[in-house]
């Protein structure tokens, strides 16, 4: 792992699929990709024909061995890389990736504790990688995911999450602007009451992974600490900037 990170690898876009009104899923073929753990990220480097380059980090939705890497990218209005990945890039196009990166915000199959995943917006990507890894493994630890989105159409992997049929894995939703019809809860940001209702209680001492925009992660992690979760049991990943 140490030596692999610094090397840029050529990635060829294998498939693109719309995911949300502003987001897209990309499958990349990356010969030489060393595999990655669920929760890790990678760097993407784009080079224009005149040599201009831009680099950004993206969470990986896939994990394990294999040379196909899945990304889910949300277009940032003021961005330069995300609009290219969401609007412009097509199958056959090439870019470079480096990774995997990060050894902290990861889940390992050998963990035998309850896990609570909490996502805001496109922060769900590394948590989807973790969810997929848990479902694909023999691991039967209780899992629960709370996913906060503006509206149902803004959810990445909505169909896949809705289709999870595992008695040990529950998905809860929170909507800030629009909810499906007959949604029983108020719209808005998560609150101490909603987090208490929709997550594994602190008494069960879950390991909690929180990923999303900085404001969301700050708010959620404060609520969790107030609900009695040990700060050391809360792993966070924040994103901001374009």
């Amino acid at each position: 792992m140490a030596s692999g990170v610094s090397r840029w690898l050529t990635a060829t876009v294998a498939r693109v699929a719309p995911a949300t009104p502003h987001g897209r899923i990309l499958l990349l073929d990356v010969p030489g990709w060393p595999g990655n753990r669920p929760g890790q990220h990678l760097d993407v480097r784009l080079t224009a024909e005149d040599g201009y380059q831009a680099e950004r980090s993206y969470s990986i939705a896939s994990s394990g061995d294999g040379e196909t890497v899945e990304l889910a990218v949300d277009e940032l209005p003021d961005g330069e890389v995300s609009p290219y990945l969401v609007e412009d890039v097509q199958p056959g196009d090439q870019l470079e990736v480096r990774g995997p990166i990060g050894a902290y915000f990861v889940w390992r199959e050998t963990q035998d504790e309850p896990v609570q995943l909490i996502a805001g917006g496109s922060g769900v990507v590394p948590l989807v990688a973790i969810a997929r890894a848990r479902l694909a493994s023999g691991n039967r630890s209780p899992f629960r995911m709370l996913y906060s989105v503006r509206s149902p159409e803004d959810a990445f992997y909505a169909a896949e999450l809705a289709a999870i049929d595992d008695p040990g894995f529950r998905v809860d939703w929170a909507y800030t602007r629009h909810a499906p019809e007959a949604w029983p809860h108020p719209l808005g940001r998560v609150t101490p009451e909603s987090v208490a209702r929709d997550t594994i209680p602190a008494a069960d001492d879950p390991l909690v992974y929180v990923c999303g925009p900085t404001g969301f992660v700050e708010a959620v992690s404060h609520i969790l600490v107030d609900l009695g979760h040990a700060p050391g049991r809360i792993k966070t990943e924040r994103f901001g900037g374009a």
Binding site: V89, D93, K235, G241
Partner: protein, 197 residues
């Protein structure tokens, strides 16, 4: 071998010779943290340096404020690729604190409220290159940016500028801190792009 991304480059960020390789300019102040933001009251705050003889030198918040305070104008560079140019901070020079603590070993481990650590050579904390900073752009440092006080070592990637700092321990060898055990570089020079292992 050059790999070109077809059609990329229509939207470009402002570039600047003060920007290290792979970085982009931002007007925001994004956050990189591994866990919840600790809530630290200045009434309980303490900063301690433990030197190679095990001698502890501590400062309360009021004692820190009584030391010479410097204005620092600097660029900052985060490993997650954003840079901010021309930021303004106020803080106490580490030279002052290391002198008082009779620093006698070449490597420091910075410890933070919340349990995080990062390793920095003492040389990089010396000679007017590092501060305990408690003010950013004229305001008390926000908790999510490391308040009440953070280490400020702006010539290295910004994770080395430990948020919520509560002390330094000095060591004969360079041992990896929290971020360095989890994928980030032991030294972190942005001009050499020392991001990862």
């Amino acid at each position: 071998m050059a790999v070109f991304s077809r059609g990329f480059g229509a939207r470009r960020r402002e570039s600047d010779p003060k920007l290290p390789p792979g970085q982009y300019l931002t007007a925001d102040f994004p956050v990189l943290s591994a866990g919840p933001t600790p809530r630290v009251d200045t009434a309980d705050w303490e900063f301690t340096i433990v030197n190679g003889h095990g001698e502890r030198t501590s400062w309360s918040w009021d004692e820190l404020m009584a030391l010479p305070i410097e204005d620092v104008g600097t660029d900052i560079h985060c490993v997650t690729r954003w840079s901010k140019l021309g930021t303004h901070w106020r803080g106490v020079s580490l030279d002052t604190l290391l002198d008082a603590a009779k620093a006698d070993l070449p490597y420091a481990m910075a410890h933070s409220y919340g349990g995080y650590t990062t390793n920095v050579p003492v040389e990089d904390l010396s000679n007017g290159r590092a501060w305990i900073a408690f003010e950013f752009e004229g305001e008390p440092l926000d908790p999510e940016h490391g308040g009440p006080a953070r280490l400020l070592v702006p010539h290295l990637y910004f994770w080395k500028s430990a948020k919520w700092v509560r002390g330094l321990t000095l060591h004969p060898t360079d041992e990896p801190g929290f971020w360095e055990q989890n994928g980030y570089n032991m030294y972190g020079d942005p001009w050499k792009e020392q991001r990862y292992w």
